[in-house]
């Protein structure tokens, strides 16, 4: 379970999150909707430990507000940022393997997870030997999702996954997220988007964030 309790974050002296409370239970599919600059990305980056925050952040009851950010992957949190942030000089396969190798997963487990990712996103098997720098934006988003799933055994955080996707790719991406529910029922999904329409049928709970605050009525 991911939990944010009264979490506030300032960036360059300006408050971006103001006392955010958010709970994502195991296996839950949760959407965080908000306009540009509302604090969606900041919420995910804060959960990932990438920003200094006040308040309480815990993962499965384990307090981790001040824990080093790199420990999140070991806690089973996968993250696909909005701009993909793949390592361009690596192949797709190297990008997918990297977080699992860093966690020193046994090769058999790493391959099992890779097969799971290929089962969910079959195009990634075909992209495998290609350099990540040569992928289109949409293909890159697929790889970023696959990479997040390689370590996201508890939760996967997806930052505006549909942003900039061509309609056909968006459909495939949504289908993959739909299949994820059956494949990994215990893995929680927290997805941010600017429009709730894109996530229809994919989430069971929607929160709205505005000016760094979760709106109570929308929960």
């Amino acid at each position: 379970m991911l939990r944010l309790e009264k979490v506030s974050v300032d960036i360059a002296g300006a408050p971006v999150l103001r006392g955010v409370d958010l709970v994502v239970p195991p296996g839950a599919r949760v959407a965080l909707i908000g306009r540009n600059g509302a604090g969606k990305t900041t919420t995910l980056r804060t959960l990932m430990g990438l920003l200094p925050a006040r308040g309480g952040i815990s993962i499965d009851g384990q307090p981790c507000t001040d824990a080093p950010a790199h420990r999140r992957a070991a806690l089973g949190i996968g993250y696909a940022p909005e701009e993909r942030r793949l390592f361009g000089s690596f192949t797709v396969l190297e990008n997918l393997r990297l977080p699992a190798e860093v966690l020193k997963l046994p090769e058999a487990e790493l391959k099992r997870r890779l097969e799971m990712v290929f089962g969910l996103l079959p195009e990634l098997r075909e992209f495998g030997p290609r350099k990540a720098a040569g992928l289109s934006g949409g293909q890159g988003k697929m790889v970023a999702l696959g990479r997040a799933l390689m370590v996201g055994t508890r939760a996967v955080l997806l930052d505006e996954p549909f942003q900039g996707l061509a309609p056909a790719l968006a459909l495939r991406y949504a289908e993959a997220l739909g299949r994820l529910r059956a494949l990994l029922p215990d893995v929680a999904l927290l997805i941010t988007e600017s429009s709730p329409d894109l996530l229809r049928g994919l989430v069971e709970q929607t929160f709205v964030i505005e000016r760094g605050e979760i709106q109570p009525a929308a929960a």
Partner: protein
């Protein structure tokens, strides 16, 4: 042209051999500087001081060995031991105590801090090794000279400059390229260099990797100095001239380039050396002339990649 070559052929041959040896030493310093900049995004002006301290330390170890009656061949491993000592002691110290504290500050402040460190390390060198030239020619004398045929002439050249220095530089180049591509630690360094935040999200302890890479970069600088120490006496200020040359190599090659740094080091080493033999007054200018010419045509350097930014 042929007449010019027959008049100056011998000098040109000497210049080429000298230039390659000098390129080998500069390459190691420049590639270390490149690695450090990659992970820290700080242009470390004090990198040249690590070269100088590596050279002085190698000389001190060799002096210790010879004055204690130990086998002189130990002066070869002493070069590598000196580099390792300097890297392992000074690398983490500088990174943790100083650079880590300014890694999120403005580049101007970072530059000032590394410049201050450079000044401090220059004084430390004078305190420990004095201001008189220090030499370390034992390894070079041990290997003797080899007659290199050059056209109708023969150039006697030291085996150390001909084989040891370029050999170690080549080994460093191939080894580093292999390490970065084929090992997990290498890929992790590349990941942190490419995108620190994304690397951290993938479970990489970026702070630890930065310290490790800085130490490795410091070691390469010290190795460059240690390997160059048998070729010329060390005097105060050697660090300053080295760092400026390394900047020229890095700028010519493009940031983040290992193989590119090797080619740029050869270009600059050869250019400088040819100037020394043919037009000595141009020696200081040639490396920067090469750099400026390259940057005018390709601002990202010969092998650098232009970063695209989404707007």
């Amino acid at each position: 042209m042929m007449a010019w070559l027959s008049d100056n052929g011998l000098l040109l041959g000497l210049a080429v051999l000298d230039g390659l040896a000098s390129a080998a030493s500069i390459f190691m310093v420049a590639v270390g500087l490149n690695l450090v900049f990659g992970v820290l995004r700080i242009l470390n002006v004090a990198h040249g001081s690590l070269y100088a301290i590596g050279a002085y330390t190698a000389a001190s170890i060799t002096l210790f060995l010879t004055s204690h009656g130990l086998p002189v061949w130990l002066s070869f491993p002493a070069l590598v031991v000196a580099a390792a000592l300097v890297g392992v002691i000074l690398g983490p110290l500088i990174e943790r105590v100083l650079l880590k504290r300014v890694e999120k500050q403005e580049p101007v402040l970072q530059l000032l801090v590394t410049f201050a460190l450079f000044m401090i390390l220059e004084d430390v060198q004078k305190l420990i090794w004095g201001v008189q030239p220090v030499s370390n020619d034992t390894p070079m004398r041990l290997l003797g000279t080899i007659d290199v045929p050059f056209g109708a002439d023969v150039i006697p050249f030291t085996a150390y400059q001909l084989f040891v220095l370029p050999g170690i530089a080549l080994f460093t180049l191939v080894g580093l390229a292999w390490f970065m591509r084929r090992t997990l630690t290498g890929r992790v360094i590349v990941a942190v260099t490419t995108d620190r935040e994304a690397a951290t999200s993938q479970g990489i302890d970026s702070a630890k990797i930065t310290m490790l890479t800085f130490t490795f970069g410091a070691m390469l600088a010290a190795l460059g100095g240690a390997l160059a120490s048998p070729m010329s006496s060390m005097v105060p200020g050697v660090g300053a001239s080295t760092i400026v040359l390394s900047f020229a190599v890095v700028a010519t090659a493009g940031l983040g380039q290992v193989e590119g740094a090797a080619i740029a080091a050869v270009m600059i080493g050869l250019g400088r050396s040819i100037a020394v033999y043919l037009e000595p007054e141009l020696e200081v200018v040639v490396p920067y002339l090469i750099m400026v010419l390259v940057l005018l045509v390709r601002p990202q350097g010969l092998f650098g990649v232009t970063e695209t930014r989404r707007i």
